[in-house]
Amino acid sequence: MKKVFTRPVSLKNAVFHYCPGCGHSIIHRITCEVIDELGIQDRTIGVPPPGCSVFAYYYFDVDMVESAHGRGAAVATGIKRAYPESIVFTYQGDGDLAAIGTTETLHAANRGENITAIFINNAVYGMTGGQMAPTTMLGMKTTTSPFGRDGKLEGHPIKMSEILAQVEGSCYVERVAVNSPANIRKAKKAIKKAFQNQIDGRGYSLVEILSPCPTNWKMSSVRAWEWVDEVMSREFPLGVIKDTTGKRSAD
């Protein structure tokens, strides 16, 4: 019998701890598919953060090192500079990359560190129980913005991808989502390109992924998928934000 669907080799045979409807498990899977397809499992080092994906090393069958909150880009810099043959990716949430780790992220991008960042934007701090994130929508109620996020008091949803696209050292920035089969396919393509850029030595690549968090959004999984389309992607438009690889792309 012909096998048409199977677990990626670089995804461990483990049960995800993520909530039903969460985007992390989808993103883990497609990232592992990319690692398999590029044949880089034996030289990939992943850098997961504190947050819901802190246990990513139970799922990814590649070498991994836990980073302090927000410091993923600096840790990845240290690994890549010490061992340039490695393929290094950070896996960071919005609190990690867009709040506490803004400095490390921006400067790693500006130095053109030859690494890949997978940036999960779900508009809340998930693991700590749904507090306001830097990417929380205006008017959105969270446990620390119980009256709805007010731009005058709590600032505005920060667009890290657009900011990171501004610096010379980033070569590729794209925003995708994992709320439909079509979007998941696009997300995988973007992740693959971001890893390929590193293999080709092009510099800093980032894929921002709008990812549903039904638990903290207090929605059903189906409604959360719709909300990504109806609300989140209006504030954070999907698409390629920067691509300097142009026709020089390997594929």
């Binding site: 069958d61 090192v65 836990e66 980073s67 840790v75 240290g78 061992y83």
Partner: protein
Amino acid sequence: MPKMLMTGNAAVGEAAIRAGCQSYYGYPITPQNELTEYMAANLGRRPGCAFVQAESEIAAINMVYGASVAGVRTMTSSSSPGISLKQEGISYLAACQLPAVIVNMSRGGPGLGSISAAQSDYFQSTRGGGHGDYRTIVLGPGSVQELADLTHHAFELTDKYLIPVIILGDGMLGQMMEPVEFSHEAPEVPPVRQDALRGAKGRPSRFVRTFTSNPPDLEEVNWSLFRRYQLLQKNEVMWENYMTEDARLIVTAFGIAARIAKGAIKQARANGLKIGMFRPITLWPFPGEQLKALSKKTKFFLDFEMNMGQMIEDVKLSLEGAGDVSFHGRPGGVIPTPSEVLRVITRIYYQKGLS
């Protein structure tokens, strides 16, 4: 090999390169900039080596963490306010049992403080420094030559015990120039640790982490660290006894303060006073038994530090009540002269009736 005239900062850099340090990450702060500059000029372009001027001390220590995970010898340096920022990373290094060398050319505090030499970071260095139940190995050099020698030793210790090493210098040691001799040549092929994360090639994938949702697992990590700390206390303490044989009053001092005290003690001896000195070289583990042994010869001690009295707590703990400990200190980056220390020594010597 001929002696070279170097600043303490440059000597640390040269000794680190000769110890096989392959990556350095730093951020400018006085009085240690010569070290960062030395590494920029002499390490950054060496084949297989890395130098990054990081965007902050926090980033620098996390780059060190990454380099250590990848198995190479790595170092960062800073001075007091910057070392405070590095504490997060040092706690993670300690938790993950990753080797690294961290140099603190300390200056006056608290706050931004002064840029002058001080020893106010003794507590921070010897009590772990960051959050959690851990220690680092702390070395307290007293000359440029010793800075160079202890830098080499630091890389050996950190690799052997998988515990971060702090070299606690100060602004004066870092800035002053002295002749220095290096006992090692840089290795042609720098060492790479066996347990490095370099991809799961020919072996199962591995991970390095600190977080656990199961407290008993973390307790076991803590006990495993503790057992290594006991080994360090047993095997790795370093100290110097100076003219203690017939001493009636023993000065306890470390680092540059010991250097100043030595000048005072020489003069006191010339004046006929029987003074000696006990100088811990490993500040943690503290050579407590070796200090206690001296209390069989005399009961009188004078602790001298360039702070308001920090090492004195270890001195008293070690003596376990077997000594009468006086104190003289100058905090804030004020550097006392040997004649000032001589006056204090002389006063205490006669007040205690030791003549």
